[in-house]
Symmetry: C2
Subunit: 329 residues, 2 copies
């Protein structure tokens, strides 16, 4: 008999998530049926999207949403042999039964020397988000100037490095000085701390006096209202997320974007990585190649212990992580 | 000796334009030099863009900006023979001297039966704006649903009709009931008066319960904040103008757009028609063909008398015109 520990979302978030919104439970799992497998989680991902999407996708009492890298420990499904590794959408639960539909096997030639947790970060959804967002939405070109915020996060750190690989000047901002040091380490050209600069406008102007061709936006809110006016003519804005507004209790407002968009003929496009599902293999193979070549560096912010998942999630929302926030069981 | 009457912008607009911001003057023009021509205006255009752009492009005391259809009355430039008609950027002035650089001849095969004033409207900048904005920015496709506001205006009325030609369902809104009647006359499928509907959300939902693929935005402001949430997944928004905000004394604000853009993967792009300068001929020929076939109807709101230009301009900003606002000398 297998006992699974799960974190339930027992209360939809109001404002910033609280510990009391979650509850840890243990449940006995049934025997797997024909076609099913039993997965055991190795490590978990916490990501910004969970804040807004749990509101729409979950009922109170459901297991909290999220992905994990898991090992197949029992199998009645020949597509998923015992001992194989998968990325699973089972949510915040240590053990889960699946008929395979929610599982994606790790690439069969996953390099031994790379941690499997990268399948939740640089070599997973966040890495692919950076890859397709920058190449297909920003349509970034050699010699352009790219702005990225939340630059030390799971997505932003990959965006900046791919932009450098593609021959761009990269400006990144983050909310802590040790993050800025990390950004310089991974070859960002200009960095600043958006929390401590006296003026965001001046910081953006100083980092790139002639403005920005591309802006990869993870943050939204006031930062984006300011950045909009620093775009070059025909600039492209890839809107990946809006973490600065996810915990707002009331609808927050900023200056209307329409006239600035017209005056410089700017394009602003929201995207979700699923759009390129059929090209994930291409993206992952390119990302792995860059990692193995040493052109794409990664860092993980690891929290130990499944019991600390809510704390890790809230910490990520506060920006405590440099690189990808991972929870090891 | 030729005396030119001109309207000067003597005071940059603050809030809604006032009569006292303009001054009518008479000036003697010199003899034309080699390479120059003397133009005499037939009719003038007033357009929304003049409100924001006069702020950036003009100094106080300059002739107010704008286009006119003019006749060449004297010529020392073989490219512009006497008796030819041109669209000129000379601004609000009855007579002007040009070396030809600011002049665009009307198509040599301009149909006799069409008024030359159409070169300022359906067969000019506003028509081309509708054509390229809808086809190249909205990327409209057969069977889609298109929303357009300021739909009875010079651009909007063309947008709706081209969308119908392309096989779309078209929803238009305007601010007066006689305009709605006009929209039905030119084959809009659904229309509503944004000023009198009890709820904009409900009006948009009623007109197209499953939302909008394309939104051609002439208005910006609150209307656009509401419309954003009525877009379909992968919807495209062509931002042409933001007339609702042009007279604001303070920066007006609305809900941040980033999260709605991400959630439905929407694209929002500002544009100016000059982008397609090399394709004007293609656009004009298509527009003329549609007009001659009776597929593209036009209406002009004609003000008589050059002395009434400021009033016509202010009236257009208030939405007094159905169709293109034209001033005949």
């Amino acid at each position: 008999m297998v006992v699974s520990k799960s974190w339930l979302l027992i209360k939809h978030f109001e404002g910033f998530p609280k510990s009391s919104d979650f509850k840890l439970v243990e449940r006995e799992l049934p025997k797997i049926k024909n076609g099913e497998v039993l997965c055991e989680a190795l490590c978990f991902s916490v990501d910004p999207y969970m804040r807004p999407y749990s509101q729409y996708s979950l009922k109170e009492g459901d297991i909290m949403m999220g992905t994990q890298v898991a090992r197949i420990v029992e199998s009645n499904n020949s597509a998923f042999p015992v001992g194989g590794y998968v990325v699973s959408n089972a949510g915040w639960t240590t053990h889960s039964i699946s008929d395979g539909t929610s599982l994606t096997p790790l690439l069969p030639d996953w390099p031994e020397k790379l941690p499997k947790s990268l399948a939740l970060g640089t070599l997973g959804m966040p890495g692919l988000t950076a890859y397709f967002g920058l190449l297909e939405v920003c349509l970034v070109k050699d010699g352009e100037t790219v702005l990225v915020n939340a630059a030390a996060g799971a997505v932003g750190s990959v965006v900046g490095q791919i932009a450098k690989i593609k021959g761009c000047k990269v400006v990144g901002c983050a909310g802590a000085d040790d993050k800025l040091a990390y950004l310089k380490e991974i070859s960002f050209d200009e960095v600043f701390n958006y929390k401590t600069v006296p003026s965001l406008v001046e910081a953006l102007k100083k980092a790139s006096p002639d403005g920005y061709d591309c802006y990869f936006d993870n943050v939204g809110g006031e930062f984006s209202s300011v950045a909009l006016f620093q775009m070059k003519y025909f600039g492209r804005i890839a809107v990946c997320g809006a973490i600065s507004t996810y915990n707002d209790l009331e609808v927050s407002k900023g200056p209307y974007v329409q006239f600035p968009l017209v005056a410089k003929e700017l394009r602003m496009e929201g995207f979700l990585v699923h759009r390129w599902k059929k090209r994930y293999d291409e993206g992952l193979r390119q990302l792995i190649t860059w990692v193995l070549e040493g052109k794409l560096k990664y860092r993980e912010h690891i929290t130990k212990g499944f019991e600390n998942m809510p704390a890790a999630f809230m910490g990520m929302l506060k920006g405590e992580n440099t690189g990808k926030a991972i929870i090891n069981v």
